[in-house]
Symmetry: C2
Subunit: 163 residues, 2 copies
Amino acid sequence: MESTTSTLLEQVITPSDLLTHWQGHRGLTRRTIEAFPEEAFFNYSIGGMRTFADMVMELLGIAAPGIKEIATGEIQELIEKVDHGNKKAKILELWDKATDEINTYWAQIKPEQFQQNIKIFGQFEGTVWSSIFYFIDNEIHHRGQAYVYLRALGIEPPYFYER
Amino acid sequence: MESTTSTLLEQVITPSDLLTHWQGHRGLTRRTIEAFPEEAFFNYSIGGMRTFADMVMELLGIAAPGIKEIATGEIQELIEKVDHGNKKAKILELWDKATDEINTYWAQIKPEQFQQNIKIFGQFEGTVWSSIFYFIDNEIHHRGQAYVYLRALGIEPPYFYER
């Protein structure tokens, strides 16, 4: 018990806290999607960049499949397009489905896996932790870009610090 | 030794890896500052947002002082303005100074501190890890916004995945 306790106390961040941290970010990204007018979500962009819809499809392609691959060891295909019929409701439905899948597969990741090497989606070499941090950082990066789109559209984005 | 080894193997991320991860992000932010034309860095913005210079001053106000507070226990004042004379070179000099300070003070943080509670800058309640993650996430968020500024200016930003 002594050693288990000290392991927990000396963790920078526990697996459970990292999941909560990410799902907090994912909740904020969901509110950012909600803040967009339907049409602008699928059509608006600045400087030749992708629409926020396109970025969100990338995030959907990475998050749940990435965690499934880490949990199961089965290489997942990176699919950055979904059939959304230009409906935010469809994207939000897929977002919520991904939220559940992430929670389910996360519970199957063993604590000793985070430091192990992985070639995620059969392509990107790193550790399990660095892959997950990439998923989160990439989401923050694109959501930050969506904040500029919203401001340019005259819409106030959700508070960054509210999770 | 057994227990120390297993502690390290079961860490999601070690303190040393978290520092390297953050300094990798800070290197990317530095290259993003470099990519801006001098004048646009201090004057350009979209949708009534702050200039990237203003955002970078916020990042400078948070990073080194925040880590100093965590390492020493001395509450730091949150100062989000610096005397830059509209010179990117001055900002980059402060950035590099902060890089060294972060490395110096990071080495003084004890492993068991990350899970402890802190009121950073005497204002924001959280744990040490959640405060540090906020510093990093906030930097990624604002740098993502700077990418839109650069694209709108017709400038290609540095690759997000290069650290």
